[in-house]
């Protein structure tokens, strides 16, 4: 059995097969909005769905891509580009994030277990 404290933070959000390569989806995990991406190489990445530059929860609807070797996601609103590995904002488009937000995205660990996609919120905090 897994310890109770850990169970509370691990959330099954969907089946792996529900994810389409390069098309993000949003998930609601304990009141927090998360953007999930299944990449070309089969891996799944999760970042905050909140776009720090527009204050809208839209990152799941951005365009995936790469800068060099780094897989990226571009905000659909003002087109800032973020690393899907570290969440780092790689292209700010000469804009500042909205007050109270960091420019980089929070990244959440994702595991695929038995065909299920699981997000661990606490260990990311």
């Amino acid at each position: 059995m897994t310890p109770a404290s850990a169970i509370a933070t691990r959330t099954v959000v969907c089946a792996y097969d529900d994810l389409t390569p390069d098309l993000g989806v949003a998930a609601l995990v304990g009141g927090v909005q998360v953007a999930l991406f299944r990449l070309d190489d089969g891996s799944v990445r999760a970042v905050q769905n909140l776009d720090p530059f527009s204050d809208a929860h839209v990152m799941s609807r951005g365009i995936t891509g790469s800068r060099g070797d780094v897989p990226t996601i571009a905000s659909p609103i003002y087109k800032q580009v973020f690393s899907l590995i570290t969440g780092e904002c790689l292209v700010t488009m000469d804009k500042q994030p909205r007050a109270g937000h960091a420019a980089d995205l929070a990244v959440y660990p994702v595991t695929v277990d038995n065909g299920q996609v699981i997000i661990d919120l606490v260990s990311a905090a």
Binding site: V13, P21, Q33, D40, G65, G68, T72
Partner: protein, 857 residues
């Protein structure tokens, strides 16, 4: 403020503009304020381009430079304020309204007036000169009126066969009048071309339907029985029937103010100045056509601009002096190239003349070289002036290789690649040397033609030097190892047009295949939507088809326009702006049911804002059920075809603009393009649909339609330019089919039609040749491509509603598909809702929660 010196410029022409522009650009400390007293009721305009007023341009298209110049705090432009007196002792100028303008320094820039010889009858109605917008407008009104009164085409005559005379003859032709050029000398343009050139020119111009009558002196203009101009009587007793006469017999300096103020006047008129443009009064300069410099007044813009720059330089403590006038000229008169430069008449002792004449092709070329045939002294080019841009700057330097290479038709012998010396002038209008252009590239970081133009002003007036400027920029970049990059992004080393071609030829249909073959990496938010758009343009398949959805830009991805809070707006198509009452009611009903904010768009339709991702399919189901379809307001594609009321209802409409607009909108709906496309159709010349602000504007005439292309609103507004005149419906469709398809294939990413047209090699004329004369042999292909598009159109939204797989993309959360985004918050304003601001979000009392109301089934 007491430190600011007052400059008054008398005159509001092109040179006054150049003086003011240069002063504001260079006087960074604000030492001088400039007041310009213009006689005409408008800001300075491009007098050289006056004839273009007849080819669809508006007076405002002739505006010079950035209009913001006249808003500058240190610049005052007084229109309609002719100066009437100068008091040099008190240093004051009085204008026609009696307003007194004190000055510290006075600039005389009164220019010239059109001079007409004292011929009997020169005061009859129907006699014009050709100098100002008002002259040209009056001529146009008169010709149009007489055509109606006479019920036949108007017979025109131009007295004077110089540059201006040929311009005026062209203008008369544009107005639908016949024209005869009456020339006193033995040949046309006797100041610029020699006998051989004059003959070639006469032949070319007569081929265009303009009659030429040389060696003819006009004795009198005689009235018809109603007192209008009726005929011309010549000194050789000949006569000719005419309805309108334009004098183009030269200009004279307007030096009367200077004369009255006691300034020295030259023998043949003009205010005498030294090489620094200063008169004998150290507080008065004269520039442009009114200045008698080095013994003569010069009626060309390039030396006038040079004088303006010198006057500015001197006022700011510089040392500039007048280098002598470059009287080189290249013109396109009635479509005929004429150029003359340097010592065109071989007056240099020992000069040799090399000529080439092809009377069949109507080409005459002459180079004047030194006695050793090595150094270029000047030349004349008639019928084919393609070598002008390269040759003119070479005057005074070695030709390099066989001079004949420059005379024979382009391509027959390879022309030597001569490196221009740094001091060679490239742009004579703005006095820009080859060195200055190189400097802009190497030292000022300009890597594109547009940047070099902005930085040096080269090619910004007449534009004839642009091919050369482009060449210099290209070779300079090559030398410094900078390649002119067309790369779309880090993943594709090609421009959009190249990629379009590659995809079309390779017939690849998926992004992964395309990036594997032509690119690197995984793509990005630049290249993915570009490829998505190209695939949609070529194959017209659904934007959300397999492998395509992930390519689409924000809005195409869900076929709605994302707003600032992440919700969407919904716009059903309203073709031509014509809408059924039941559709209006349905839109209102949907907006009420979902709490959407409604607004009328600029494209004559209705936008509903605030729909959530998961609500889009429900909303569209209701619209599609009622027979409405996607308006593609989200796409880089055809948006709307705006129309006026047209002949069905309007008292003035001459054609059915609504019917035409609907036909066009249905024809091009769903057409994916490099940027959004907007069309407009007006039912008469009043142009209520503002069609000339659109990418394609169709305007009704008594005989059919005129089609205009390349208009834009937006950031850089442009008026569309005339493509074809008085054509029938079928031709309207055909030329627009080809224009749009050619644009879609060759434009850059996010390049709208106006800049595409401008950057296209050869401009609109070349585009016209492609789509009207099939100069590239691609018209069949363009037609077939458009036919394929029209045949394969389907409503994107209807297709999605029938496809459960694609509908899955319209959920808010993968683990809570119907939960609304909890962060959305609205406040009420003027009876509707709008997204709450940051501070309103903190004050939860004002918020409206996102509506949970859902489907009425």
């Amino acid at each position: 403020m007491t430190d600011t010196q007052k400059i008054v410029v008398v005159g509001g022409g092109m040179v006054a503009h150049r003086f003011t522009e240069a002063m504001r650009a260079r006087d960074t400390d604000g030492r001088y304020s400039v007041t310009v007293l213009a006689e005409e009721p408008r800001a300075p305009y491009d007098r050289v381009a006056l004839t273009s007023y007849f080819t669809g341009k508006d007076p405002e298209d002739l505006a010079l430079g950035d209009p913001a110049l006249w808003e500058d705090g240190l610049v005052t432009l007084r229109r309609d304020a002719k100066a009437v007196a100068i008091d040099r002792d008190a240093r004051e100028v009085t204008d026609a309204h009696g307003v007194v303008h004190p000055y510290d320094h006075l600039i005389m820039a009164t220019g010239s007036y059109a001079w007409s010889p004292p011929v009997k009858g020169a005061d009859l109605p129907g006699v014009f000169v050709y100098r100002t917008i008002d002259d040209v407008a009056a001529l146009r009104i008169y010709v149009e009126r007489r055509r109606k009164e006479l019920g036949r085409s108007v017979r025109g005559a131009v007295i004077g066969g110089g540059l201006l005379g040929l311009e005026a003859a062209g203008a008369l032709q544009e107005l639908g009048a016949t024209s005869t050029v009456i020339q006193f000398s033995d040949r046309l343009m006797n100041l610029q071309v020699d006998e051989g050139g004059g003959q070639a020119l006469s032949r070319l111009i007569e081929n265009l339907g303009v009659k030429v009558r040389c060696n003819t002196a006009t004795e009198a203009i005689r009235p018809d029985k109603h007192g209008h101009v009726g005929s011309l009587k010549f000194a050789d007793k000949g006569e000719q029937l005419v309805d309108v006469v334009v004098f183009a017999t030269g200009v004279r300096p307007r030096d009367e103010l200077g004369r009255d103020a006691g300034l020295t006047i030259g023998k043949r008129g003009g205010i005498v100045v030294d090489d620094t443009c200063l008169t004998e009064d150290p507080a008065v300069s004269a520039i442009g056509e009114v200045a008698c410099i080095q013994g003569a007044c010069i009626g060309l813009i390039a030396p006038g601009n040079t004088m303006a720059e010198i006057a500015v330089d001197r006022l700011l403590g510089g040392e500039a002096t007048f280098p002598g006038a470059d009287t080189a000229a290249k013109l396109k008169l009635l479509g005929v190239d004429v150029a003359s430069f340097g010592d065109a008449f071989a007056t240099t002792p020992g000069a040799l003349e090399l000529t080439y004449a092809d009377p069949v092709a109507g080409v005459y070329k002459k180079l004047v070289v030194t006695d050793d045939a090595r150094t270029l002294l000047g030349g004349i080019l008639v019928g084919d002036a393609s070598a002008y841009a390269s040759l003119r700057p070479l005057v005074g330097s070695a030709l390099g290789g066989d001079p004949a290479a420059w005379l024979l038709p382009e391509g027959s012998i390879e022309r030597p690649n001569v490196e221009l010396p740094d001091e060679a002038g490239v742009c004579s209008c703005n006095n820009v040397s080859a060195g200055a252009i190189r400097h802009a590239v190497t030292e000022q970081g300009c890597h594109e033609l547009g940047e070099v133009k902005a930085c040096t002003k080269a090619g910004t007036s007449c534009g004839s030097c642009l091919p050369l400027v482009k060449k210099i920029v290209g070779s300079e970049l090559e030398k410094s190892g900078i390649e002119l990059s067309n790369a779309l992004c880090e993943h594709f080393d090609m421009s959009r047009a190249q990629l379009f071609n590659a995809i079309q030829v390779s017939e690849l249909q998926t992004f992964s295949e395309i990036i594997e073959r032509f690119g690197t990496g995984r793509g990005c938010d630049i290249c993915k939507p570009t490829v998505g758009s190209i695939l949609a343009s070529i194959y017209n398949q659904h934007v959300l088809a397999a492998d395509r959805a992930a390519l689409q830009d924000t809005n195409d991805r869900v076929m709605a326009n994302m707003q600032k809070d992440g919700t969407y707006s919904v716009v059903p198509r309203v073709p031509g702006g014509e809408i059924l009452p039941e559709h209006l009611i349905l839109i209102g009903q949907i907006a009420q049911d979902y709490g959407l904010y409604t607004k009328i768009t600029g494209g004559q339709r209705i936008d509903m804002f605030g729909a959530r991702l998961e609500q889009l399919p429900q909303i569209w189901q209701r619209l599609v059920d009622a027979g409405m379809e996607s308006g593609h307001a989200y796409g880089k594609s055809l948006r709307t075809v705006k129309s006026c009321v047209g002949s069905d209802w309007c008292r003035y409409g001459v054609q059915d603009s609504v019917g035409m607009a609907i036909a066009l909108e249905l024809r091009y709906r769903g057409l994916r393009s490099p940027h959004k496309l907007k069309l407009g159709v007006s039912g008469c010349a009043r142009e209520c649909a503002e069609a000339r602000g659109k990418d394609v504007g169709v305007i009704a005439t008594d005989h059919g339609w005129n089609v205009y292309v390349g208009g834009n609103g937006g950031f850089t507004p442009r008026h569309a330019q005339l493509l074809v005149e008085d054509v029938d419906d079928e031709t309207v469709f055909k030329v627009i089919d080809r224009y749009l398809m050619y644009y879609i294939r060759t434009a850059d990413r996010l390049q709208r039609t106006a800049p595409w047209q401008e950057d296209h090699e050869g401009g609109l004329e070349a585009i016209k040749a492609v789509i009207m004369d099939d100069s590239l042999g691609i018209c069949d292909d363009l037609d077939a491509h458009m036919a394929r598009h029209i045949d394969s159109y389907e409503d994107e939204w209807k297709a999605v509603l029938n496809d459960p797989e694609r509908l899955r993309q319209f959920t808010s959360f993968v683990n809570a598909p119907d939960d609304p985004d909890p962060s959305l918050a609205y406040v009420e304003q003027r009876g509707q809702r709008r997204p709450a601001t940051e501070s309103e979000r903190r004050d939860t009392a004002v918020l409206i929660a996102p509506t949970r109301l859902e489907v009425r089934s």
